[in-house]
Symmetry: C2
Subunit: 133 residues, 2 copies
C-alpha cells in the first residue's frame, strides 16, 4: 500500500509508504497502526518491526522505525485537516522499478523497498506476531 | 568502501558510504570525486550515477545523488580539520547483513545498499563511463 502526496519542500508529488510523526507518549507500533489507519483506512492482523533508519545523521536525532503489516482489512480513513493524499496498491516489482527509475526518491520508502525485497526473497526473515487487541 | 564516523546528533559511531556537501557551483559528480578522495584517499577510473534520494521530504529540499565508482586506486586522504573517520572495506554480503541487523541505519547507506544489491544481481544495469581527466 503506497501513497501519492504533494510535498512542498521538494515541489513534487512523491510516492511513499504510509508514515507519520509519533504523538507524545506513543510507541512506534501504536504510531504505525494509527498512521496506517488514518491515512489509508487499513487495519492489519499482524505486525512486525523490521528496522530503523536515521534520515539525516549529520544534523538531526530523527529516526523512523519500519514496520511490516499483513492481513489488511480496508476501512474508512481519517485524514488530518489539510492532509491530501491518494492511496493505491502496487506490486513489489512495480515499487522496485520505481526505485530504480527515480520515481521513488523518499528515503523511508527506499529503505522499506530494501527490506521488502529481502523479506520476499526469503533472505531476511521476520518474526510475525498477531496484533494485540 | 565504507566509513565509521562518530555522529553527535545520534550519539553513535555510524557505518556509512563516503559522502559530503556540495561546494558552491560544484556538480554532484565533482562533489562525489572530491569527497571520496578527501575522506578515503581513493580515486576511481569509472563513475556512474545511480539515483537520488530525498532524506526528509516533509521539511527539506535536501537531496543526495548516489554515484558508483570502480577501478579504485588508493592514495593519501585529506580530511577536513576536525574530521575524524575510519575507512575500511567490506563485502556486499557484510553490508547487507549490517542493514538487516541494525548496524547500518543511515538513510543514504541503506539506499546505496538497495542499489548495490540490485546492480550486483544484474537486475539494475548501470551505464558505466570512463572518468574524464
Amino acid at each position: 500500500v503506497l501513497e501519492r502526496q504533494f510535498r512542498y519542500p521538494v515541489d513534487a508529488v512523491m510516492v511513499e509508504f504510509p508514515a507519520g510523526k509519533i504523538d507524545p507518549g506513543e510507541d512506534t507500533l501504536a504510531c504505525a497502526k494509527r498512521e496506517l489507519f488514518e491515512e489509508t483506512g487499513y487495519t492489519a492482523a499482524q505486525w512486525v518491526r523490521a528496522g530503523v533508519l536515521h534520515p539525516v545523521i549529520s544534523y538531526s536525532t530523527e529516526f523512523i522505525d519500519i514496520w511490516f503489516a499483513r492481513g489488511l482489512t480496508a476501512g474508512e480513513r481519517k485524514l488530518d485537516a489539510g492532509e491530501f493524499l491518494d492511496v493505491f496498491a502496487a506490486t513489489p516489482a512495480d515499487l522496485l522499478q520505481w526505485c530504480r527509475d527515480g520515481r521513488v526518491t523518499d528515503a523511508k520508502t527506499l529503505t522499506g523497498a530494501l527490506w521488502l525485497q529481502n523479506v520476499l526473497s526469503g533472505a531476511w526473515a521476520l518474526d510475525w506476531r498477531a496484533d494485540a487487541p
